[in-house]
């Protein structure tokens, strides 16, 4: 619609002159062809008939053709010829190349009609072709309307094509980036020799790829150092600890039963146990840092693990109330030993920081995607300042800054380890503190089949 509006505006402004000239040329070309087709004496009626056929929806008398010294000139043509002679307009030359015959063109106003007159020399003088200007305007409008129609119909298709081309171009432009990304994602950090070869990618990426490769190498260096550190530390610590523990134990066995010496030795043995426990935890944490916690994934029953643990705890802490809210038969795939350690740490905390006559709640629910379980406990601590820092290594929660560390039990590694265990399984461990002195640690593990 917009296009036809624009074309009408052009008509009103008489800006159709270029189109008029073009149509005049077309008319001249037709006349020239007819002159060439019928050599000899010019038959104006025949030329007129031919020209009338070349214009659509033509009314009689809208085109007139006559020649100088034409014996068969019609009345209308005669009148126009006289008016033309009287007006003596300025003739402009038409482009002769397209017609093959020199044509001149002039405008004439006669009897309220605007005429366009074309003339060309013939043997007996000039051949005149007169056409009413409104015929030209009508034809021009017809052309414009056809153009508008085509545009209107093409418009949605054009839009679709533009969108399609954009999508295709974007895809094509992003494809090398996508290929590169795929190549990045499969690089195995643990394989010391694997790099991305720049050969299969665009030259523009070569710098980027070599930078990535150097990053990977640095990462591998750190990874190797961290892994080696943990295994070296394991070896170096385990030997003296085994020996200390072994001989201490032997001394405990050899000293007189119930003697002061035996009790003191057993206290030392207890500290050695604590040291071994800390060194084991640190080793596991450094392995986790190096991304090296290897999981022995086995199907396991949460009900059994928790049931056993809660039974033990009930026997041990008769002053606490334990409740378990868990559907029966929860089976999931995980590293049994680590999950055991995780739950026992969580329960251990729930008991350790509980208040007298307090409560411990265990909740679990299993969905298609994940297993969520939580251990909640009441506590004697004021828990306003309890936050994410409890997952940091060696962090000890103190109610006030003045409180001494020695008043708080534990190594400060347990929850850090718990979080690493959960992370190694692809899950999350979060802390929820409720105002009525309940502390909840909630663990979400993704389900694997």
């Amino acid at each position: 619609m917009a296009f036809s509006g624009v074309s009408r505006l052009l008509v009103a402004n008489s800006a159709l002159e270029p189109l008029h000239s073009h149509l005049s040329e077309v008319l001249a070309r037709h006349a020239a062809r007819e002159l060439r087709a019928a050599p000899g004496p010019v038959n104006t009626e025949q030329i007129k008939g031919y020209l009338e056929k070349s214009v659509d929806e033509l009314q009689p008398g809208e085109i007139l053709v006559w020649a100088d010294k034409d014996p068969a000139i019609s009345g209308a043509a005669q009148a126009l010829a006289l008016a033309l002679a009287a007006a003596a307009p300025v003739w402009t030359t038409l482009d002769g190349q397209s017609t093959g015959q020199p044509f001149e063109m002039a405008d004439l106003k006669a009897d309220t009609q605007d005429w366009r007159i074309l003339r060309t020399p013939i043997p007996q003088g000039q051949l005149y072709v007169a056409v009413q200007k409104n015929v030209l305007t009508r034809s021009a409008n017809g052309i414009l309307q056809t153009r508008d129609g085509i545009l209107r119909n093409l418009w949605p298709m054009l839009l679709v094509i533009i969108v399609l081309v954009t999508v295709v171009l974007t895809r094509a432009a992003l494809k090398p980036v996508q290929t590169l990304q795929n190549a990045f994602s499969v690089v195995d950090i643990k394989n010391p020799t694997e790099h991305i070869s720049p050969d299969h990618h665009y030259r523009e990426f070569a710098g980027f790829i070599s930078y990535f490769n150097s990053l990977i190498d640095r990462l591998r260096g750190s990874y190797a150092r961290a892994t080696r550190f943990s295994s070296d530390a394991a070896h170096e610590l385990s030997t003296p600890l085994t020996i200390i523990r072994g001989y201490l134990h032997r001394l405990v066995n050899q000293s007189p039963d119930g003697s002061q010496l035996q009790i003191q030795l057993s206290l030392v043995a207890e500290e050695v146990e604590r040291l071994i426990s800390i060194s084991n935890k640190l080793l596991m944490l450094s392995q986790a840092d190096a991304g090296g916690v290897s999981l022995d994934m086995q199907p396991m029953k949460l009900n059994d693990v928790v049931g056993e643990m809660v039974d033990d705890l009930k026997a041990q802490h008769r002053e606490l109330i334990f409740s378990v809210d868990m559907p029966s038969g929860i089976t999931f795939v995980a590293d049994q030993e680590l999950i055991w350690q995780l739950t026992s740490n969580l329960f251990g905390n729930a008991v350790k920081y509980n208040r007298p006559q307090g409560q411990v709640k265990f909740k679990a629910r299993l969905s298609d995607k994940s297993l969520v379980f939580s251990v909640s406990n009441t506590t004697h601590l004021s828990i306003a300042g309890l936050d994410e820092r409890i997952f940091e290594r060696f962090y000890r929660y103190r109610e006030t800054d003045q409180q001494e560390f020695t008043q708080v039990a534990g190594s400060g590694l347990g929850l850090s380890l718990c979080r690493e265990i959960v992370t190694a399984h692809g899950g999350t461990l979060t802390l929820n503190v409720e105002n009525d002195s309940w502390v909840t640690l909630e663990c979400t593990l993704p389900c694997r089949n």
């Binding site: 072994g246 146990e273 033990d312």
Partner: protein, 232 residues
């Protein structure tokens, strides 16, 4: 189960650990032959007869995996228990794949090593390992039924493992932490009394209903230290 003719081959490069293991085994009457590298260890294992091999993984000349592979390739079925400082699962799995019978991570309790070696030898010799009898207590491994005097009781899993642990190392004092580690496989914080509760339950289950009985229950509490099964 332990007798003078039990021969153990220990392949361990760390002299201090080796001394400690040797004295531990000798104190319960085992004969231990010690080699300090994988090559000599393998040679000795192939030449002489042993009831069990205690094999460290990190060894000079040949590592533990290679020694184990060779031992199995020569067709020896001697029970092999691996010692390692690493907690790597991959190590453990490849150890079992290569034909190891058991696996112990350092630092370990010597009592646990001895118990495990004993179990491996008993299993290998096909001797009647279904019951353990020690200090008047008998324990059926399959039915988990324990007997002492006239008392008979079916034990829970925990009570069973605890009693088995004590029965296999008579005369040894077990600290609470040690029992926690070996029976519960977890290091709870000190201060827990889950062990004491379990021992009391055992005592109650097995105690003789006859009040005139003169027998003293063989599991003894060592005040401030731990528990011990008395060796008659």
């Amino acid at each position: 189960m332990q007798n003078m003719s039990t021969n153990i081959l220990l392949i361990e490069d760390e002299q201090r650990i080796a001394d400690f293991i040797v004295t531990g085994f000798e104190s319960v009457g085992f004969v231990v032959h010690h080699e300090i590298d994988g090559f000599r260890g393998l040679n000795t294992a192939l030449i002489k007869n042993f009831d069990a091999v205690v094999l460290d993984l990190a060894l000079p000349m040949m590592d533990g995996f290679q020694v184990l592979t060779e031992i199995r390739r020569k067709g020896l079925s001697t029970p092999v228990i691996l010692l390692t400082a690493k907690t790597d699962l991959a190590d453990r799995l490849s150890g079992f794949e290569l034909g190891a019978d058991d696996f112990l991570v350092k630092p370990f309790f010597i009592e646990e090593l001895i118990v495990r070696v004993n179990i491996l030898i008993a299993r290998k010799s096909g001797s009647d390992a279904s019951t353990i009898a020690q200090s008047g207590i008998t324990l059926d491994r399959f039915s988990r039924v324990a007997k002492w005097g006239k008392g008979t009781s079916v034990l829970t899993q925990r009570e069973y493992v605890l009693l088995e642990c004590l029965l296999l190392s008579p005369g040894q004092i077990f600290s609470r932490q040690q029992i926690l580690k070996q029976v519960w496989n977890v290091d709870f914080d000190p201060g827990t009394n889950v062990v004491d509760v379990c021992i009391q339950r055992l005592r109650k289950k097995l105690s003789n209903p006859d009040p005139n009985a003169q027998e003293v229950f063989p599991i003894e509490t060592i005040r401030g230290v731990g528990y011990r099964l008395n060796n008659p």
